[in-house]
Symmetry: C2
Subunit: 339 residues, 2 copies
């Protein structure tokens, strides 16, 4: 019921041809039609509550006014803010957001992207890429602009919005150093991810920068960004280096895993051994003790990605740049001066 009012209705109401109505309604072509007529059409449109049919328009203009957002795992709290940030800017420009969940592995992610391309999304935001990934070129084949978020490719000229891992680790290391820590260890993320590598490198670099010993021995890699692998790594690290007074973890969960390893040795988190996390996921402030963590502006990251994508879709052929957003440090109870 309540049959959609079409452009034809507006045209009839305004006493003009539908093509004239179309031009009058479109800001970029309304200059070619008589101002009085424009007024009349606009009035009619308003009176009838006219809304253009997105499908019809899309069919003609080859635009769907929608962008696809592909997420490796919707259930990861990290991606909520990214989605929210992107949505908030896309919605302003009249775009809708198709979200795809690629939680069934890498090949699944590719079919998700393929589906979206088939639906003629005008652009893509990918949070799923691994270091060598065919998806962006897949999209390029369809002339669909792509922006990467959170992770990036090894060396492809695809615009990406990332957290500044170097700066972030710097915040943690400098914070610990300023508290007086000199023996600091690192629980690294898996080296198959760009973040795992970058944070490890940053750690070494900042340690040297602070005049501290940067022995590769004080770094232990967790097999995955989860608590269990983190515990294994922390355990090994503390076995090898019982003299450590602080640990910089590449991820919040890895940081929390350190709690367990530290307590298993009868030591106290924050007083005997300080710990920092990375990402600042929710609820960290309710931990015992609350976990000091590097905070990434994920919401802003999503917004920035959307803004960049909008530019690309508008045809701005600016050189694809990688933007690194500045992190901050949420200081809490898990860090303190060494005994």
């Amino acid at each position: 019921m309540a049959d959609r009012t079409t452009l034809k209705d507006v045209a009839r109401e305004a006493g003009v041809h539908v093509s004239t109505a179309s031009r009058a309604l479109n800001p970029s072509t309304s200059s070619v039609v008589n101002p009085d007529t424009v007024e009349r059409v606009l009035g009619a449109a308003r009176r009838l509550g006219y809304r253009p049919h997105p499908l019809a328009r899309g069919l003609r203009t080859n635009q769907t006014m929608s962008v696809g957002v592909v997420i490796p795992d919707v259930e990861n709290p990290l991606f909520g803010p990214i989605i929210a940030g992107a949505e908030s800017v896309l919605v302003e420009e009249g775009y809708s957001m198709l979200i795809g969940n690629a939680d069934r592995g890498q090949s699944h992610a590719e079919t998700v992207v393929a589906d979206m391309l088939e639906r003629h999304v005008d652009g893509l935001i990918l949070a799923t890429v691994i270091r060598k990934d065919p998806q962006p070129s897949l999209a390029a084949g369809h002339n669909v602009p792509v922006v990467l978020v959170n992770r990036t490719l090894d060396n492809d000229p695809v615009p990406a919005i990332l957290g500044d891992d170097h700066a972030g680790i710097g915040l943690a290391v400098k914070h610990l150093a300023s508290l007086g820590h000199r023996r600091i260890g690192h629980i690294a993320g898996p080296s198959s991810t760009s973040t795992g590598l970058a944070r490890r490198d940053a750690f070494m670099s900042w340690m040297r920068n602070e005049g501290l010993e940067a022995d590769p021995e004080v770094v232990e890699e967790a097999e995955w960004y989860q608590v269990e692998p983190g515990y294994v790594a922390a355990d090994a690290l503390l076995d090898r280096h019982p003299e450590l007074t602080a640990i910089v973890a590449a991820n919040d969960l890895l940081g929390l895993a350190c709690y367990r390893a530290i307590r298993a040795r009868g030591k106290d988190v924050g007083t005997d051994i300080s710990v920092t996390g990375y990402n600042d996921i929710p609820l960290l402030d309710l931990m015992q003790p609350p976990l000091t963590a590097v905070r990434i502006p994920y919401r802003q990251m999503g917004a920035q990605a959307a803004a960049t994508l909008l530019k690309l879709m508008a045809g701005d052929a600016e050189p694809p740049a990688t933007i690194r957003l500045a992190p901050s440090l949420a200081v809490r109870g898990s860090t303190g001066s060494p005994r």
Copy 2:
């Protein structure tokens, strides 16, 4: 580049008219065309990698093969699983998911819904309704089926997929009673939400059921489902009833808030006073002590909502039913026998 192969191309390749090709490709009409021809067309389509243009199809059939999902706050970890669950079943049927974030208040939620209707979504999943809400009728005006999820209306015949609050609170109360607790309190959610009310009622009912005293005095309402209001409520409750040995909280954050109030009194969580949460959000197992919580199958909730919506969109005029999914209990360290 790589110009999309259209139905016309397939028809030419197969040596038939485009209308015949269309019928051959469509399972529901392929019976009227010669099996040999169908085979030929299918072959041509496969060879050319034909994919129907969703916009063109939608324009003609008035279907977009997309459903809108409106969420009050994407950043709430609760909604990740709901989205994931819905997506997993929708994607099977070829539907895409448009997600809308209504984090700027109720009126914003309405414009989000309006936007989606304008885009001609084939159905809507709403997680945003308040007890009296105009959105469903708005959608009904456009003949768009709606399914509610997580929350429901006061008394409108709209299908809804909910957690079974009565059963959930029952799990918590029975668990505590079986541990030997007899003086149990309740931190209720705001009575402006359907869940706040339902859980409070369920608490009273189960207490009586267990033969325990169900004094309205042992219930304290938190102003909102957050830690701070929860702390205020827990504080008041423990002031009034220092004899309580257990607290059932209407929400995980309220449960965690109890930790603080309990410790502020020099007591110990899990031994002196047991606490249960509700929802089972991530990371609860890393708390000190880990929070025992009623677990809602949110992912299944999303999946169920999508399945119901699919039925409605298919025209199954089954009586709109409210489905309540059975919760379970994740028993952890925050509950134990009373001293």
